[in-house]
Symmetry: D2
Subunit: 358 residues, 4 copies
């Protein structure tokens, strides 16, 4: 109820604050017998880690996951998989100046209003550090999906006004992991990196878009009406910090199309139904049709910048907040594994749900 759980059968319940003892979660729905590839899970965490390159926050988090329960000798038993990532770099005192100030476009004011109390240190529960738990749960989901041949791959397709214009079909997505901005178009990657570096020097931040492709998903995932597969994916993505929009398949661009242009014609190939085009984004009537599922996620420029800003404090005084601290100039490179993690959890959950029908 309180928003700390995600999923129905494959389910993460997360906990933790930016500067408390640690961040972690409980994963339910892991297939009994699944081998937990710890190296892979740690690798996913490393992809999310700050301090991994010169265009991310310098906060140093080694972020090693400790599993407390749910497996025996690295094999999942079907009982809850609990894990914690202990916080190490807890420079809480850095935040003393923010104890009574509401940072613009952050969650300080709303948390204080809702709860009457908040952990001001680094955003507390509202910190993006919470997404660590998602990455761990998503990595385990990926291990489950791997056995079905399903892959989930995200990449940076836009930073500021620098856009990858090619379709994902015309890109080699494997290239995304070969550069620090995670853009599979090498030329565009260079431009993006240079641009983000400039933004960082200006003590500012900038937005971006993460695109994601889910391949080989079986036909039949998703439930009709309120739990359409894309509605679950949409909630998943919109729940990530700094996300402002979600579109799948033809998305907002469908608005300007005619039905006769937009409809995906069916045909037969290899003994099964395919569609010639895929404006549906692999989902029809809320249920996967076997084509690639793809979507785009819009991230705003992160609210933390190294510039003085006008705001108010808890007592209602208008104050100037002095620039201080560490931040990501552009969140999308590190958001990429988080988008994948949430997508993998949605798909794993729907694979389990779909087993109950027939």
């Amino acid at each position: 109820m309180a928003g700390n759980s995600f999923g129905t059968l494959y389910k993460l319940t997360s906990f933790g604050e930016s500067h408390g003892k640690g961040v972690g979660g409980i994963v339910e729905g892991v297939s009994p017998g699944l081998k937990l590839d710890m190296e892979f899970i740690q690798h996913e965490l490393d992809r999310r880690r700050p301090g991994q390159s010169e265009i991310t926050s310098p906060r140093d988090e080694s972020d090693r996951v400790e599993f407390i329960s749910g497996h025996i000798d690295g094999v999942a038993t079907g009982t809850p998989l609990a894990f914690v990532i202990w916080n190490k770099d807890q420079r809480s005192r850095d935040y003393d100046n923010l104890k009574d100030i509401f940072r613009p476009s952050h969650a300080d004011y709303t948390y204080q209003s809702k709860y009457g109390i908040r952990d001001h240190r680094g955003g507390g529960r509202s910190s993006a550090r919470e997404t660590i738990a998602r990455v761990v749960a998503g990595a385990v989901a990926k291990l489950m999906l791997k056995e079905l041949g399903v892959t989930v791959q995200a990449y940076v397709s836009q930073v500021g006004s620098l856009k990858v214009t090619k379709s994902y079909k015309d890109l080699d997505l494997a290239l995304a992991e070969t550069n620090i901005v995670r853009c599979p178009d090498p030329d565009m990657a260079k431009q993006m990196i240079a641009y983000i570096d400039g933004v960082r020097r200006d003590h500012d931040s900038v937005g971006g878009v993460v695109s994601c492709v889910i391949a080989n998903a079986p036909v039949g995932l998703g439930d009709p009406v309120f739990d359409k597969l894309h509605a679950r994916l949409g909630q998943a993505m919109l729940s990530i910090n700094a996300v402002k929009g979600f579109e799948y398949g033809s998305g907002f661009s469908s608005v300007e199309m005619l039905g006769s242009q937009h409809n995906d014609e069916f045909y037969m190939e290899d003994g099964r139904v395919h569609s010639r085009t895929n404006r549906s984004g692999g989902i029809q009537g809320g249920i996967s049709n076997g084509e690639d599922i793809y979507f785009r996620v819009a991230f705003k420029p992160v609210a933390t910048i190294l510039k003085d800003q006008n705001t108010v404090d808890r007592e209602g005084n208008e104050v100037v907040m002095k620039a201080k601290g560490r931040h990501d100039p552009c969140v999308v490179p590190r958001a990429t594994p988080i988008v994948e993690a949430m997508a993998a959890m949605v798909i794993a959950d729907n694979v389990l749900l779909n087993k109950t029908y027939r």
Copy 2:
């Protein structure tokens, strides 16, 4: 689990198919003592009704709601409010030709694959006729919100490439209900109507955008992490038939902005915290901050068109589907009350959830 329920405390569980006996639902969480203004509820249904103008589907549905339980003399008792809208215009035979054909970009193929059986008549459960239940539940939610002074107003802001460029703040939203396309800009409305009429004559369909503004929502609605208020709104909107995208506040346009441009500065007015700009769309850290909540919903061109199309049938034969039947050339005018209904349900649910904290 099976996707027929929406909401946690204010909750709709819906049922019904396009050409079965009827469509309806059970609403839980209605405040005991609430006066059910039947005229208002019927009025909301009439706004969704096909056949209401020359730019909507000619299917004639008088759609009168019958409440079966949950009230005594029109006053809610806090027990489940069950209702049904009986189907009248059930020309099932119209659909005999579609029994074995998978209509392009419809849910026929995915339903058949998932369930092994489907009600082919008018789309069955996947028909937009299901949204009737949402409008009823949303109307009751609006009655609850009215007592708190909260208003929910949606309008058509784009049809094809015809866009309202003004902010909602510079429009008189009350004008939306004065024309059949539900656009509050009278000149643009005329152009949109003419354009849709042309599309209809061409036996085609076109997409559009519905914008929505929630005013006077209290501070503190929404839960952190996975149930952020905008994530719930996003799921709600994406669950509506034909929706392809959702964005709130600055949305996708935030991608191209710098943090220093995007951040909403706080200041004091009338003894409470306000923000000078509202790129946050009234939600920060997933929780409402008292400013207007606003968002945009992208609708694709509906898949039903009066043109012959290539497709396949259940036996895997490639066939030409002959044009036949009735359809909406553009769904957004009738989608407007549905968007409002879903938004009202999300807000009512979060008002109830928020009571549990303090």
Copy 3:
């Protein structure tokens, strides 16, 4: 949340009041393709019906179920199965005298306190008439279980101090349906009927016990920890009107046993594990082990009696409530199909849940 839903994947959401328009529900999780045997479902309803014999309430309810959605030509499509049983014998005026009186040991006072409003006619939502919806949903669950060979049979094992002392294994449970008290021991049945008839003439009521046996349930049903199979069965039974206690397997009698007497020794037979005794009641660690699942449910004497009683009214005046109305002198004969229905729903739900593990 508001207590109107039962089950996770096989799920009933019910609605309706004793003297409103009708009582009904929505069933989710019905296997697509299941043939709905309407005659069987109606037969189950008839078993619950008042007026079926001289020892039950004379209220005449023909109680015919009308399905509104979820099937096509009597075959379930996997979409929500909505149904309503219209109230016919609505002698609301009978209850005018109870509008402001709190009947002893009824829900009048608590509903009024909780909601500030209540439907006083025949108990409104708190009436046992609500159990109609359970019987319908349970009948559909039985049809699903039938395909797996699972049977659910309940019978009356005690009325007042008249007890069936034999184990269910030594009874022919089919005999339960051959007498109006639903006791499979014909001699005891006669005594019970005579006793209940006397209680009825005295304008009083008496309690009883319903025993239930679930045979051929597969191994592996139930989830550990909080959703142990017997915990779900217990909640199911305790949610039935007038139930005061639940025990399974050796139940309360286990208290006086030693572990060395109580433990069920395993052995092999027909290639699979069995237990020689079954004090575990077919459930170990919350999970079914393939032996018979059996349990007992205690029903209090119903609160409605035809005697004057002291009580208070809404204004806090102490008043004498005059005897009036119709009632069941002993609820257990009619409770038997309700116990079966709830048990069938729990098992069906767990069959679906269990599909998600391996």
Copy 4:
């Protein structure tokens, strides 16, 4: 879904195995601002601890709780309260002999069948060690209830055939904590202790009953129909290891009563409605009426005994299991705080749920 969560708004999600790294959980719904009295929480854990007296298991668990998140300087922030109790006395090798044997009346066979894999060490997830998480979550619930004046007190009312015959009203329940068997009748306590000691020397075990009284609960807790307050309490209690039965108020004894004897007459006192008797057990129509809520919970003799037993192994061989290990001869003294914990969680959850109505 997988049975690891309990509660709706006040909710525990638990994890951990007997001989893994630790046992713990996440508590949601803790009131922001609540002072976490760590000494009290630890005291509750100590009441559950094995090794506390000569009639409990000698396993030495110091069991200190470590909170990882959800508070700042000991004050709850309303975010999830995660905690872990690290396992210390992990004599896993003690269990090597049980790796392939199904212990009689334990969960070994059912877990193996359901999951295809199990943690055999000390019962793994099915171990009563899991109840530690309940005691912590229950202790926090008690702190919330304390602010409302609600108290929850359990005591041992029966061991084997040794029964406390007095009503709880005629006992000084505070005396329960003055002896190691937790029985408030000092003479009976002595007899029980002597009896349990004899059972222990015989290497056997024996059952018992825990009674529980909830005083000062507000009127209006509980939801009608499926979530009746006593149905939630029943599920809660039946989910505790070794529980075989639950009854509330007059319970199974009501079966032999007439309605005219059983009904609780209302009267006025101190300006509010009371009942002269309380056979309803403080709950009418599933909703609390302001009188004491009381119930009884039956515990079987624990399955672990120090006697050789016949059973089968994983390969289907019939074997003799040799006596070995440590066990509780009678579980009820240590179960008392667990019963209280589950009751406190149910009440806290319903207090939160009840806030949403009016």
